[in-house]
Symmetry: C3
Subunit: 217 residues, 3 copies
């Protein structure tokens, strides 16, 4: 599991799998805002690649995932064209429900891979965990900003970023225990995805701002 | 045309010409939102330099255009002060119509120069084309995000980014045919500007999302 | 004052002091928008570190302040948790008034430190001043964009960015006079903070767009 080539392949597979679920969330958001064909591709692309790209800008890593594996840009384009041709409004709600599970997988996988990359650069634990959270959530944040909405991840009181946060700390702990990176990736991704699935199943919500009972405006 | 110094000069002229049309689009957007003097300069600056700067961050190129040619920042400042002093509300609509043509020129020139820079770094074709599109359109996207609007380029169903996309592929094809860079720049810019002018003249619109007839909300 | 180690320490202290005032502005904005715990931390973090991070991305400086001094991320987290537990809605308005003065200090300190870093890279005066303005104001701009508002700094007609702009030019002038960097930092920060305090005390507003009397929409 500590073989560098195998680890690189694992990273690539991990990022690839999560990308499709995130792109679909962008597609549906663009459809709801009635964006045109360009808007659909841009928002799907931001949702899919935005988090990883922002992480790479912050870590000063080049080339980006979508430069090294440019085939994924073609895949995104094909996905957008297919969705515009075949996805009807009455399919939106079921699609969104169906995407919750690959999205939870993506949350764990993206978060763990982002944290792993930062840990490999010997960054402090909290910075590494933050990079995982950025990777997992900022695609969705950029998607919502472009769609002129307050980002869902910041105000729906559902645990999303906090799952990636918890998974990141598990990965950092495994790393400091001296175990091989593959184990950390697996443990971190499993923790984040597991917590997200648990939160979806139980309907758990984050604590509210203490002023909720005496609104100002 | 393949002389490096001449090519660099051509690049500079190309970027300079397009910048003014883009800055004016930012000025008018800021005026419509009643921003103050700072807001006018920031939005005009984002519209003018945002696309090229984002491209340079993504390609890891330094120094930025506006660092190397800092005189352009003075020019932008002068333009904003002059506009705030002399441009009245009744001039907005005519100004906007008059700017359509230099803006179409800017679309072609910025798009081709962005694609050319990426091609010179041996990036894959689709990435190079994407860089051209980012250069040509993200100034406007940032302008609209700061003004708290859904970006025009993503929802007005007019071909804008797709013109830069088409022009980029022409440039990439010329490059792969082994012709000098100047030819590619010329062919790419002409294609994008030509398509944009054609779209403006004919009122052509992009295909709509297939759910347009059965809205969800 | 020109001792490099002392200067570095001064920089760190300067950035640290301003950070808390900026984080509180983010906290209050997030509270007003009823964001959840994640949103509160993200918006406070953007307000506190966003301007400096954007400056570092533009100047291609690494590591970021919050990577080198990761303890500040813990401090931010503690500040957010404490605020969510103890800050009640009836404390918002007084908190905001009380924060005006440390915020004015932060404006001067962040602006001067951003300009100083650019001057040390031998960038042109206007670019260095712009970097100071970005450092001092873009945390607030990002905070407002994420909260889906037109950034306050761009439309409230109160001098804020222009104070940092003026202070930056004072620093650049001191630098070109050949005086030690510490003097420039002090003069620039004092100018910006002093102008801001003066503007708050006198209620001075920026000139309005000349079309204000004949609105278009």
């Amino acid at each position: 599991m500590s073989n560098p080539a195998l680890l690189a392949l694992l990273h690539t597979l991990v990022e690839a799998g999560a990308t499709i679920a995130f792109a679909l969330s962008g597609l549906l958001a663009a459809a709801r805002k009635r964006l045109d064909a360009v808007g659909v591709c841009v928002v799907a692309g931001l949702a899919a690649f935005g988090g990883g790209t922002l992480r790479d800008v912050l870590l000063d890593r080049r080339p980006f995932f979508w430069v090294e594996h440019a085939g994924w840009l073609w895949g995104l384009l094909a996905l957008c064209i297919a969705a515009m041709a075949f996805l009807r409004a009455r399919h939106f709600a079921p699609t969104e429900r169906a995407m919750q599970w690959p999205d939870a997988l993506g949350l764990g996988l993206f978060g763990a891979s982002g944290t792993q990359l930062a840990v490999a650069q010997d960054l402090p634990g909290i910075v590494a965990v933050l990079m995982g959270v950025v990777t997992a959530t900022f695609g969705g944040v950029l998607r919502d900003i472009v769609c002129n909405e307050i980002p869902t991840a910041l105000h729906d009181h559902r645990p999303y970023a906090v799952c990636a946060f918890a998974g990141g700390w598990v990965l950092v702990a495994v790393h400091h225990a001296g175990l091989p990176p593959g184990w950390g990736l697996l443990a971190g991704a499993t923790t984040a995805t597991g917590l997200r699935v648990l939160a979806l199943a139980t309907g758990f919500t984050l604590p509210r701002w203490s002023s909720a009972h005496s609104p100002r405006e």
